[in-house]
Symmetry: C2
Subunit: 210 residues, 2 copies
DNA sequence: CCCGGGATCAACCCTTTGGTTGATGGCGGC
DNA sequence: GCCGCCATCAACCAAAGGGTTGATCCCGGG
């Protein structure tokens, strides 16, 4: 056993950062070297300090989100591993995080031992998926599942918030034509014919959280 | 300053419990005497131990939820105060918690000082609302309570299920014109301009449940 | 290297929805 | 008895949404 694993905690909740710090401090081979309360700060810390593993939340209150930060962090040479640690296990979120370059995906209600094990796995370059998350992915593969692309999910979520196509196009810096295209694809995949029906079905299948 | 405030932490996330414990341990007048990983356990602990304030999450994975536990805890004589501590601040959740007997309502992203202050306020019997939460309630009070008529609610619920005006008219044995009239009234009362927005607002205000 | 899928946009057409005006009947309260 | 509210419906117009075709670009896999 050589030097300890150097950790960065990136989460906008002070409670969560303290909790992780407390839980991980009992592990002699793990050291928390920094905390970040915003995604942007997490990227900055990784750029100037030597970090082995980042525990990254996906939701930050505003500004840059966890997925973007993950992509920015792993883009550099000698980048740390990023372990996504979030409350939800929506398929779209998991896929987006993995695509952005996350090494693993954990849920915040995971038992502490699982947490420490995942950090060690990530530090060693191995992938770490929480059992619950792994289950979802397996179900996903087995059920010819409705696989919405990240962009489609994003648009659908804004629809669920009551936005019009025009508002969505402005929010995402797209043309209305593109929004419509995404929605038509969503309707096809969900087997519906209107935006409200799509929202209803997506809610039922857990594709949308509030 | 007499004896310290005795706290119970009720949350299904080990990370959150540890975080709260760590953050509150720096306050000499506050003592965490127990933790509960389920709502049922929280009720049991309150029944057999002397607790002054309960920090209660609303969402537990399964089984009893925070609102029910809150009601059960405050029902007994000499009950501890319950401080709800959750991630979301939807109006429906806040109202439900307050109705169940919660003394205060905090968000998990609140700064640690605010947290400690709220606990002391609760212990002293004072109400504690996070500023963000208070804002919501004020908005709610200022906006006159939207009272949808029974028929309007019925139509809106079918809209939320994804039905078109035509489908609704058949389901309720009405003409489409009548459905439209009801919806226009609903839009006016909710302050929106489309059916999806109406569903979003209604969900937020708890006018619709799944 | 080509192919497929994701993401982007345009132009077109048709249907649905939203907004307005106006009208009828019933029910409850003052 | 009148007024207000709820519920019902019609006709009409403007706007938004839904459906189709087709096109470009980029990327990663075989």
């Amino acid at each position: 056993m050589s030097r300890p694993v150097r950790l960065l905690l990136a989460d906008d909740h002070p409670v969560v950062r303290s909790g992780l710090r407390a839980l991980l401090s009992t592990e002699p081979d793990l050291t928390v070297v920094a905390e970040a309360a915003t995604a942007r700060e997490a990227v900055a810390v990784c750029a100037r300090e030597s970090v082995d593993v980042v525990l990254m939340d996906l939701q930050f209150g505003s500004g840059m989100q966890g997925v973007e930060a993950t992509a920015a962090i792993v883009a550099r040479p000698d980048a740390p591993r990023v372990l996504v640690l979030t409350t939800y296990d929506t398929e779209a979120d998991i896929l987006a995080a993995v695509e952005a370059g996350a090494t693993g995906y954990l849920l915040k209600d995971a038992p502490p031992e699982e947490l420490a094990a995942a950090v060690r796995a990530a530090a060693a370059g191995r992938s770490a998926l929480a059992p619950a998350v792994a289950h979802r992915l397996i179900d996903r593969v087995r059920a010819p599942g409705v696989a919405l692309t990240p962009r489609e999910s994003e648009v659908l979520r804004l629809v669920a918030d009551g936005l019009s196509n025009q508002q969505i196009s402005r929010r995402l810096h797209l043309s209305q034509a593109t929004v419509k295209t995404h929605l038509v694809h969503v309707y096809g995949k969900l087997g519906v014919e209107s935006r409200t029906a799509a929202v209803a079905v997506a809610r039922e299948r857990g594709l949308i959280r509030r």
